[in-house]
Amino acid sequence: MNFDDISQLREHHPAWRLLRATSAPLIIAFLGDYFVEKNHGATSASTLVSELDDTLYALNAQTPDMFPRDPAAYLDEWADPQRSWLRKFYPIDSDEAHYDATPALEKAVRFVDELQQRSFVGTESRLHTLIELLRQIVHGSESDPEVRIAELEKRRDQIDAEIAEIRESGISLLDDSGVRDRYQLFSSTARELLSDFREVEENFRRLDRRAREKITSWEGGKGELLADLVESRSDISSSDQGRSFDAFYDFLLSGDRQRELAELVTAVQGMEAIEADRRLRFVHHDWADAAERTQQTVRNLSEQLRRFLEDQTWVEHRRVLDLVRSTEQIALRVRNDPPADGVGLVLDTPGLPIALAFERPFYDARPEPQVDSELEEVTIAESDYEALLAQRFVDSARLLENIRAIVPPRQTAELVDILQLYPVEQGVAEILGYLALSDDEVSIELHRDEETTIDYVDTAGIARRAKLPRVTVTRA
């Protein structure tokens, strides 16, 4: 990588551009959590919008107007091809746009994640892994049976020696730091594997695109085309990526493996030496989910490619594009003087409509609307103002005066007692007036479980009795 390559990446690579964006904390926090941490696949726009809405609401509550825009507008922006942190597409079986994370987003999230310091960096376990890998490569590609057998015998001797040692001097355990070292490697590789699936999918898409390019520019017959696709590994199933993924998928999906993995993971998570990462508890399920999604993509792609190959239109694909191009050129030339109708496509119209004369509804004779623009004079009716005038105003200042006169500061009195000394003058409205009195000086309390009765004479001079919960008045 030289200077130019790097500045090119800095300008154009979506992951790097994401890291440089001012809204990167929001994007990585939200999308990282939703797609990477929670391992969600493609999600409908409405679901994602409401998730983002919740997040924005919480953020805006902390700092008002930090993110003032509509959540859908943010998503659209992030899915813009210029940015491509999200992939927006319309699946076959839905009328709604869907979003999925792109590998670039995964990369940025992982990078940020790795910035956080690790307590220690395990080196021993990785060395073991590397040696094991080398062994697999060398012995896996050894074709001489003698050499192979010699190697297996050597391994058997080692195992025998180990057994003998245990018999003699007991088991030697992995020490705590050895366990932690291995767990760290396991945890980082497990998470990495999970986040790699999106890139695997992306690779499959790229392979598919290349295959289509080849098909549309193919000159020969169909048989040769198919042969070429398989040979040149532009076909998904014959590519390195395809084989590796297939092998992985078969391995993971076998029942024995699933059980073994589940047992091992549970055992490891329970060890004392390990500060267990709870995300890893069901990591094998997450793998299976992600792999299933990738598998689904592969299935869709192969299905589409098969249709594309079967479809006769790819044969005329190039002719169609040529025709469009030449027509476009002429259309541009005549753009300021477009032809009148008469120059245009002549198409069959879909369907064979039957329109029977008698099926039509009869003429519907609607009464003609009468428009009368002369308004009749409105006679102003005598209104009854009685109800309006009968309203009484209860002066709360007077009620407060009453209370002050009876209740000393910081004391409590019964409302009934107050009314004994200052009888009700304005009926029930006055009683309610007392209840509504609550300010710095006076507080009214209702005791709902007890009941009192208040006798009073209403404004018309009739004796009445009001039943209400016991009320106490306290002065501050």
Partner: protein, 234 residues
């Protein structure tokens, strides 16, 4: 379909339960394009009873095109056989306006690119995208609103023909979007496009602007004049 009284003896009044699926499929086809996704029952019937449905239509010179790959089926005039007296045409042909033709052509191109690009799912275009796509070919006007109105009108016409499908109800109000239906490939094929290209080239050659173009358009429209009376549902 309505019950008529009197001499109805010869006309079956009831469709038996076993014939019903075929009848429904025939009616569906007569109403327009039959899609696998949206008319699963009729699609399955057509798969099973293709011969029966085809028999029904072949008497009146119409063939059923059943495209399993793309998931649509539609009616088309039977190709004329040499030496035989052709039946009057039942499937209507229609000369489209220049703008609508341009739009369909551009959509056809997008569809071809979309398929060749191996993109997932369906091709959906937003209003802005369609406006941008078509605007380049429209007469420059200081009246922006008029241009956009014209595009909207053209989109509505393409939708009415069934080549676009409005998905706006599922979108935000300010982002209208349409799916470009694959059936467009079947109707706007290289042959039809070729004729249009020739007409347009002729128009450009004769000298755009003069009414000289009338001659070209006459011959084109005349050749395919529909023998059946146009029944406009509007």
């Amino acid at each position: 379909m309505t019950d008529s009284s009197g001499d109805a003896a010869a006309i079956p009044r009831h469709i038996s339960a076993e014939d019903r699926p075929v009848s429904l499929t025939i009616i569906r086809l007569m109403k327009g394009v039959l899609y696998r996704e949206s008319n699963e029952d009729e699609w399955r019937t057509l798969e099973r009873e293709f011969a029966a449905v085809q028999d029904h239509f072949s008497r009146i010179g119409v063939q059923v095109i059943f495209d399993d790959t793309n998931g649509y089926a539609f009616l088309k005039s039977l190709p004329e056989e040499e030496g035989s007296d052709p039946l009057p045409r039942l499937v209507q042909r229609r000369a489209l306006s220049y703008h609508l033709s341009l739009l369909l052509l551009l959509l056809r191109k997008r569809l071809a690119e979309f398929e060749a690009g191996g993109e997932e799912g369906r091709l959906v275009l937003e209003r802005e995208q369609i406006i941008e796509m078509l605007r380049v070919f429209l007469k420059e006007s200081s009246n922006e609103v008029r241009v956009i109105q014209q595009v909207d009108q053209t989109i509505a016409q393409a939708t009415k023909l069934g080549f676009l499908q409005d998905l706006s109800s599922k979108q935000r109000a300010d982002a209208r979007a349409w799916e470009v239906k694959r059936i467009l490939k079947a109707y706007v094929d290289a042959e039809v496009m070729g004729e249009f290209a020739e007409q347009l080239a002729e128009y450009a050659r004769v000298g755009a602007g003069d009414s000289a173009a009338d001659g070209a358009s006459d011959s084109a429209a005349g050749a395919d004049a529909t023998p059946t009376p146009e029944v406009d549902s509007e």
